[in-house]
Symmetry: C2
Subunit: 388 residues, 2 copies
């Protein structure tokens, strides 16, 4: 029996459209063949979400092939055949002898493939994401080729979503909402942090509206006395009356995320946190109003920062970043000075976590898309500091 093709997250035409945009950029940069290695970019151009990226793999895009070719460890070939939109003949497994081998690795298989095809003019690499030794290997082994850095080019192309992608991000957002509502429902004094985490993560996996989560993304639960931290999973502590719980997580649909942050309090929050919450919500609304087509990331950040300042607070870190497959996109930031121009269906995580000194932290965030009339958030949750 051969591996059947699985259900596809997008139609073939969607992938070919994405590839054509990439190929235009390749042609403009005089690249004949592009080796895509960033896992989120591979997902974007093929539908592959299997987690084999801890060993070398590459999606090879050629100007003269409609479909890309995926070169991966042989044991991961069947998953690629199952998940990717491409023909099975475009999945090439390299042998196990290239694993844990100090002399040759999977990148040699990719170079062999390129050299066999006689493609030795411009080769595009996501060079800044690769180990130096790998880039050297490409240069050395394909001596006649010009190596062109393509780092983050596909990520910038990913920045503007199609309506189909927006649909998946809305599904992910519904799952994020379900997780947050579950938290509000079950938090109580005496509960272990880990038990809350289990309830939320279980909800994120079960999904919402009949659509399961398809992965577990990053997850942070930073509670008293750790509310000034932002990237702790959870601890072995037990909640008490007066505990504050800062939550950040995301549902996932076929790689697409829609992160969400909310702050919860067992009993009344302090006056300081209440005032900070009010300032942050005012800032969030100002930021969304500013996120219209044609304005800049800097404008959105300035709208947030000036509003928050009027309320007597400041936020040191950026107000957010482009978001999509596997969460953060390494491109535009919602910060003053980032003059990226907003286009319809760009999506951002308006991340307003505010950690002040060592003892104060408050979080709220929404994932939104840019429209002509402002940022349209995907969450349906109220902008409350949830008192439970």
């Amino acid at each position: 029996m051969t591996m059947p093709k699985g259900p596809q997250a997008f139609p073939r035409t969607e992938y070919l459209r994405r590839l054509n945009t990439v190929k235009s950029e390749m042609a403009r940069r005089e690249i004949e063949v592009l080796v895509v290695t960033a896992p989120a970019n591979i997902t974007y151009l093929s539908g592959y979400t299997s987690k084999s990226g801890y060993v070398p793999q590459g999606l090879v895009v050629s100007l003269d092939d409609e479909e890309p070719t995926f070169i991966t460890r042989r044991m991961d070939g069947p998953a690629a055949i199952h998940q990717m939109f491409i023909n099975r003949s475009h999945v090439i497994g390299y042998p196990e002898t290239l694993i844990a081998n100090p002399n040759r690795d999977g990148y040699d298989a990719i170079i062999d493939f390129i050299l066999d095809k006689g493609r030795t003019r411009g080769i595009g690499l996501e060079a800044k994401l690769l180990p130096a030794s790998t880039v050297e290997k490409f240069k050395y082994r394909s001596m006649k080729a010009k190596i062109v850095d393509f780092t983050h080019v596909v990520a910038w192309i990913r920045g503007v979503k199609s309506d189909l992608e927006i649909g998946l991000m809305r599904e992910a957002a519904a799952i994020s909402d379900a997780g947050m509502l579950r938290a509000r429902e079950v938090i109580r004094p005496g509960m272990r942090e880990a038990d809350l985490a289990a309830e939320i993560i279980g909800t994120l996996v079960r999904g919402a509206d009949g659509k399961p989560g398809t992965d577990v993304a990053s997850f942070f639960l930073c509670s008293t006395p750790r509310t000034s931290t932002c990237h702790i999973r959870w601890t072995e502590d037990v909640f008490q009356l007066g505990s504050q719980i800062n939550l950040e997580f995301s549902g996932v649909r076929h790689g697409y995320t829609s992160p969400l942050m909310r702050t919860m309090s067992i009993g009344s929050p302090s006056d300081q946190i209440t005032r900070l919450h009010e300032g942050e919500v005012a800032g969030l609304e100002a930021a969304l109003a500013a996120a219209t087509t044609g304005r800049t990331c800097s404008d959105v950040a300035a709208a947030f920062n000036s509003t928050l300042k009027k309320c007597g607070f400041e936020k040191e870190s950026r107000c957010g970043y482009a978001v999509g497959i596997d969460w953060t996109e390494p491109t535009a930031s919602l910060k003053e000075g980032d003059i990226t121009i907003l286009k319809p269906n760009m999506t951002f995580h308006l991340m307003l976590g505010n950690w002040i000194d060592e003892d104060v932290g408050y979080v709220i965030s929404e994932t939104f898309r840019v429209t002509d009339v402002g940022g349209e958030p995907f969450t349906k949750l109220p902008r409350e500091l949830f008192e439970v």
Copy 2:
């Protein structure tokens, strides 16, 4: 209020012992200051498990300082003060201006720190894990220093566990066992794969024996018709009578993992899978018997391979790898030809997943420690092909 120190996974003496081993290697390689960037190595040398490694950070070990210094994004400083064994004065936060800045990043803050201290002789870097541009930056900015590659040196030191570490891996194994038992309990025809994943992951987070899981590690659920795949999370499918479910996951305790694989079948498995199971269990037992102090990784793999071959099967991929913090250690492999000599308390994931062509896959694995009388597995599960 200042951030309090959290409960520590290990006593200070344990971290100092580890650091002394690292410092001996530094001295031997004429390195005055070492920049540790691999997250698992940072955890090993400090207790830090917060997930801030998606931006530059470095644990700087100096021969003339008892404690290392951690240089991290300012917002992550409080988590470092809370989790690391080091004095708070050894946590240095760099400002937000170094985030999403094309000209200067957190590595510049690390270089500034080293240059300020006047340490400009040998600088050790985990160079093969860093982007080429970062290594270039270190070379360029600290011109007088000799840059020495320290890639995987700390990982090799991590290879031999202390009894305290073995204790945490046993706790992680008890959680892995609980997850597998939960799977056996709830799998039934008509169940969605995602609902099974939610049940298992919820169990992995709640933990076992009163000790919660402290993170969610990688997780794979590859079921019919995808049993020949190995790295798919789960799908939207529903189990049916006759479905086979291959599971791989791990409990986590303060970073330490103890991965486990088992195969489950709804109804009777095929004759082929039953015979493969029998061969694999025989091979597993032969491998554990061979894993005695003084023998080699190659010996363990050969014992497995020859036993499996007698049963009429072969396995293409390696039989396992060193395991510990954050799962795989990038060092020893259980494969023929790897002549790493086994020492007491080395720990391996004896990973016997066997994916044959596109339609057959069977998984079983155990995490074990090396002893003088053979590999001692941490799991207490029977070596069964679970029929549910």
